[in-house]
């Protein structure tokens, strides 16, 4: 069969190869979905465990800042930083770590300060069957890119034949580069959750979808954990979303922009009559 590829005309093979690349993209998504470990069926209640499952370690850092801002333990301190203004009765060791910081700090410093706690959360989630263990991840990565490797192998064979015959191989090479880029992305971007972990986040989001609209003070952290800092736009804690967007937009993959310029990047505007109307107190 392989022999047959070299006998296709250039345009016929290109069309055939484009279909193969699309098939590899589909298979690269479908195969790991099939082979993903089931894990455990359980709900996730702790806001930091929910944050890690929904958005990884950085979401944990954002959740901590959001909750402490909402509790008035932290306040924005200019240049994309926050500072401790009040030591609350923080229960979580991760929050206690942040409340001990004497100087203003940004997202990068937050993440670094709580990294040991994030490692603990990750370990707990693996034990609970909601997150894949490190040993389960590499096989899944490899299986995810196998379809691409087959497609790239076929392309390589046909390209060599084309070069030997003196045929133009530019379009084929371009398609192979596209396939290689997709393969790389598929290898690097692995959803690290078990099926149980994915379901736990989906269920939590469904049960708590009101938090996406406007969470109350005790709910701010859990809302950010499940839905990200975007839910803070238009709230009194919008600065955190602006900090996060600024950090993400600096091209460093995020979390390295603390204090890099003087813009506060606020996502909210002074809407003048922003409150609308109150009512009777019941």
């Amino acid at each position: 069969m392989i022999e047959g590829f070299s006998t296709y005309s250039g345009s016929d093979f290109l069309l055939f190869y484009a279909v193969l690349v699309v098939a590899a993209i589909v298979a690269g998504v479908w195969v790991p979905t099939l082979l993903r470990a089931d894990g455990a069926e359980r709900s996730v209640q702790d806001r930091y465990e929910a944050a890690f499952l929904a958005g990884g370690g950085k979401r944990v850092a954002e959740t901590a800042l959001a909750q402490l801002l909402a509790e008035d333990a932290l306040a924005p301190s200019g240049e994309r930083k926050v500072r401790v203004i009040r030591e609350t009765a923080a229960k979580h060791p991760l929050e206690k770590t942040l409340l001990r910081k004497p100087l203003p700090f940004g997202l990068t410093e937050t993440y670094k300060a709580i990294e040991p706690h994030i490692a603990d959360i990750k370990q707990r989630l693996v034990q609970q069957g909601l997150l894949l263990a490190d040993s389960q991840r590499m096989p899944l990565r490899i299986v995810s890119v196998l379809p691409y490797l087959v497609v790239l192998g076929i392309g390589w064979f046909r390209r060599a034949a084309g070069v030997a015959e003196g045929e133009p191989v530019g379009y084929l090479t371009a398609l192979m580069v596209v396939a290689a880029i997709f393969a790389l992305i598929r290898f690097v971007k692995l959803d690290p959750r078990t099926r149980g972990g994915i379901t736990a986040v989906a269920d939590a989001r469904n049960i708590s979808k009101r938090l996406k609209t406007a969470p109350t003070t005790p709910e701010v952290g859990y809302g950010v954990a499940l839905f990200g800092t975007a839910i803070l736009a238009g709230t009194p804690y919008a600065e955190l979303h602006a900090m996060r967007e600024a950090a993400r937009g600096d091209g460093s993959g995020g979390y390295a922009a603390d204090g890099s310029d003087s813009s506060d990047g606020s996502g909210s505007s002074d809407s003048g009559c922003g409150g609308g109307c109150g009512g009777c107190g019941g």
Partner: protein, 185 residues
């Protein structure tokens, strides 16, 4: 206890704002003034009644969404109905409307009230508020306050999405024409 099982909710659900024999009903006026479909206006009216229920029962100050606020504003203009029928007979309390005084403290206060209203809504009615009538904080406190009255006799109103689409289409057409001129000689 679910709100639906209470006398207050039964009275609110059955309440009709304005005269029963009006040729142009409250709901129709609400739809016309806000350019809503009759079905959407009817849904907003139900949400307004739910808001009134919460104002009486939640135990904390409540803040409506912009859509619910429009229903409240309109009801207040039916002043006899509002003050002489609705408040004394249905709510059995005075429900006053209080616009914000502005500023960041007020904004925080109204955000907290809005969030608390949504949380109480979910407890009372057993479901989260519909997000097309009770939108996100960003929509509620940043976008919706930009609204103002216009008269279609004086201005042309175009949806922003349609203008964007037309702009892109015009840009592409111009680019294609320019390319044709350059390569076509």
């Amino acid at each position: 206890m679910s709100a639906f099982a209470t006398d207050l909710w039964r009275k609110l659900a059955a309440y009709e704002v304005g005269p029963r024999d009006a040729a142009f009903t409250f709901s129709q006026r609400l739809a016309r003034e806000n350019r809503w479909s009759p079905a959407h206006a009817a849904r907003v009216l139900t949400e307004y009644k739910r808001f009134c229920y919460l104002a009486k029962t939640a135990g904390h100050p409540v803040t409506p969404s912009d859509a619910v606020d429009q229903a409240w504003h309109l009801h207040l203009t039916y002043s006899r109905d509002y003050w002489q029928r609705f408040c004394p007979d249905i709510l059995e309390a005075e429900l006053h409307h209080g616009p914000t005084a502005g500023g960041s403290t007020e904004r925080t206060r109204y955000y907290d009230q809005y969030a608390a209203t949504l949380a109480s809504y979910e407890i009372a009615f057993g479901e989260p508020p519909p997000d097309d009538i009770w939108p996100t904080a960003h929509r509620r406190f940043v976008i919706d306050p930009l609204s103002f009255r216009v008269n279609p006799h004086d201005v042309v109103i175009l949806p922003r999405g349609a203008v964007r689409f037309a702009g892109i289409a015009a840009g592409l057409a111009l680019a294609a024409a320019a390319a044709g001129l350059i390569w076509g000689g």
